[in-house]
């Protein structure tokens, strides 16, 4: 299975370990990822508000790059996924917009016709790999590892994009955790916001919000959290000392990128998956990796 691969900015800077883990896991799963070298940022949340023409141009260009290769597009960041989905939806419903964007892309001899399928790695696992295939490839089931799934906003909302009456009913991550042998736990922060998008100018919001989510995961007995979004990861992991100060409690909650959790169950080691690059050490996983390696295949 071949995908045009769009990691986004975060996975190529602060969360470089996510990019590396995705490549390793994709390799194990037989996914062929084609890097789009000249792909730009999708504009985060800022561009879509203050510069819509620029926002559409950047996103449609990425879609056009994938379309030129004739490949579906795979993302690993929630916000990028929603930006691309929104730009695609606007492009196919507004011929005037479509024409003006294509005129800008013409200098590069690019043209989008609205055919690129956009999918996040989480959905690729469920839709393209499938549960049966995943179960077959799990060589080190993470038996009983209690996992708190942290979805983030832009893979569950807005309702018009994903169709849930109540985004809390989304169970894609828990289902996946079960396939990997984990025990997903229920807690109040599952589909809440990490506050990343205002953290550059005021990180107090992010710290206050996520402190409660991590506390709730901890109280529910989670040994680790897992998230499909590098932006959520940045807040949950890098800001944890500040959260601890704010809630006046030790949290020590490791946070894994989705491909890292999958990778562990597929037999990759925490070192290979660069879990040691995180701020909060994931010592709890060493036990699992060691114990699991004794399990005969």
């Amino acid at each position: 299975m071949k995908f045009a691969y769009y990691p986004g900015c975060s996975a190529r800077s602060t969360c470089a370990e996510l990019n590396e883990a995705t490549h390793l896991v994709a390799n194990r799963l037989g996914l062929d990822l084609v890097q789009l070298d000249s792909a730009t940022c999708t504009g985060a949340r800022e561009l879509r508000a203050i510069d819509p023409p620029g926002f559409y141009a950047l996103n449609v260009r990425i879609l056009a790059l994938a379309e030129r290769q004739g490949l579906p597009l795979m993302t690993i960041c929630n916000t990028c996924t929603l930006n691309l989905l929104d730009a695609h939806a606007a492009f196919v419903s507004d011929p005037e917009l479509a024409e003006s964007v294509n005129a800008k892309l013409a200098d590069e001899k690019l043209r989008y016709s609205g055919r690129t399928k956009i999918s996040h790695f989480l959905w690729v696992l469920h839709e393209e790999i499938g549960e049966q295939q995943l179960l077959r490839q799990v060589v080190k089931p993470l038996n009983g590892l209690t996992v708190a799934a942290f979805y983030g906003c832009h893979i569950t909302r807005p309702p018009g994009r994903y169709g849930f009456v109540d985004s809390r009913n989304n169970r894609a991550l828990e289902r996946l955790a079960e396939i990997l042998g984990c025990r997903p736990i229920d807690y109040s922060g599952r589909t809440e916001c990490c506050g990343f998008h205002t953290a550059a100018h005021d990180e107090r919001v992010a710290i206050k919000l996520t402190g409660q989510h991590v506390l709730s995961a901890k109280a529910a007995g989670a040994a680790t959290m897992v998230t499909p979004c590098p932006l959520c990861h940045t807040v949950l992991d890098s800001f944890q000392p500040e959260m601890e100060k704010d809630v006046d409690r030790k949290l020590d909650m490791p946070v894994l990128h989705l491909p890292q959790l999958v990778g562990l169950a597929l037999g990759l080691t925490p070192e290979q998956l660069k879990i040691d690059r995180h701020m909060v050490p994931a010592g709890v996983l060493d036990g699992y990796a060691a114990a699991a390696s004794n399990v005969p295949r």
């Binding site: 800022e46 203050i50 079960e178 000392p241």
Partner: protein
């Protein structure tokens, strides 16, 4: 809840990965309506504000199901048959007046427009003081709306009569006009939930503002004055407001973002963070978080040396790349598309 690995093999393939959980959690209107049969009894718990010492603040009721029962019907049944002193507001019963919003199982709903669930916990809205039981005090919201002066001022003479005004010019303002001021979004907003931590006006007041600020006939001077006190760039873009809006207003994408665009144009100093991001992308192709934080926070970004050390030792930041402003392979395209050939973004 947990699926064993043995039974998993028997579970059919999930075809649509983005909707996993929807069917099993009855997450469609039809599913939720068709779960009951006549004779069913609903287990309803209502949060009361005054209870005798020692009793639960959530009072439990058993409510007989009636066909097409709404949350409001359940509340009315309780008031008529079990607790005459239960306080809740409602008026029109048909999604117009916006007075009956409550939280049902942790989600903001209009009592008159929401199907009942087999087990329901009903609570008052959050982020507003409770007067009694399910009745909240809306003063905080009303004062905020008034302070934003959500009306139209015109200094220029009319262009023509009748005045030309297209659907396209009014497309966002007309979405805002669907608002029934039910406060669902205000209750769901996590930033409002943090109290006075920021000066964010909140989704409901911003929708009220959008009705006139996004109207092309309004004077830019008037819109500027309102936006200056909106704190709008503190919105975290979580879409919680859109999710609960009974009027289906796309609050983030059609109200808050267009208002941010107005602010960027009329009060550029409010949007310096957004301009900084655009400048980083336009010059380097992708976001370098270190450069963005330095541009936005300036020297303030250096006040936490322990975090900087943490980030450095784990390779999370790369000062060399930032100081040399190394371009990515995407820089040329980004500069072309964001700078419009003018060389400036």
């Amino acid at each position: 809840m947990a699926i064993s690995r043995d039974t998993l093999t028997a579970v059919a393939f999930a075809v649509d990965g983005r909707r996993i959980g929807q069917a099993e959690q009855h997450d469609t209107l039809a599913e939720r309506n068709l779960r009951f049969k006549p004779g069913d009894v609903l287990a309803v718990k209502v949060r009361r504000s005054e209870v005798p010492a020692g009793s639960d603040i959530y009072q439990a009721f058993e409510v007989p199901y009636q066909k097409w029962m709404r949350v409001l019907d359940a509340l009315n049944w309780i008031a008529e048959n079990a607790a005459a002193d239960l306080a809740f507001r409602w008026f029109c019963g048909s999604k117009m007046c916006g007075t009956c919003a409550v939280r049902m199982n942790g989600r903001e709903v209009l009592a008159c427009w929401e199907a009942v669930e087999p087990d329901m916990i009903i609570e008052p809205l959050r982020n507003l003081p409770v007067i009694r039981d399910l009745v909240v005090d809306r003063t905080r919201y009303e004062e905020k709306v008034a302070s934003l002066e959500p009306w139209i001022e015109r200094r220029e003479p009319y262009g023509a009569f009748p005045e030309p005004l297209t659907h396209k010019q009014m497309k966002d303002a007309s979405k805002a006009l669907d608002c029934i001021s039910c406060m669902c979004c205000y209750s769901a907003c996590p930033v409002i939930g943090l109290g006075n931590l920021t000066d964010f006006a909140g989704p409901a007041p911003l929708v009220q503002l959008g009705q006139t600020a996004l109207d092309p006939r309004n004077s830019p001077e008037k819109v500027r004055r309102s936006l200056e006190q909106s704190g709008i760039f503190n919105c975290v873009s979580c879409y919680k407001c859109e999710e609960v809006c009974p009027a289906s207003i796309p609050i983030v994408s059609r109200i808050i973002e267009p208002l941010k665009a107005k602010a960027a144009q009329l009060v550029p100093e409010m949007a310096i963070n957004s301009f900084a991001l655009r400048e980083v992308v336009a010059s380097r192709g992708r976001v370098d978080p270190t450069e963005l934080v330095l541009r936005v926070q300036g020297l303030r970004s250096l006040r936490n040396p322990r975090r900087i050390w943490r980030l450095l030792t784990r390779g999370k930041i790369n000062p060399i790349r930032t100081l040399l402003r190394l371009k990515t392979a995407a820089a040329a395209a980004a500069s072309h598309l964001l700078r419009d050939g003018t060389g400036k973004s």
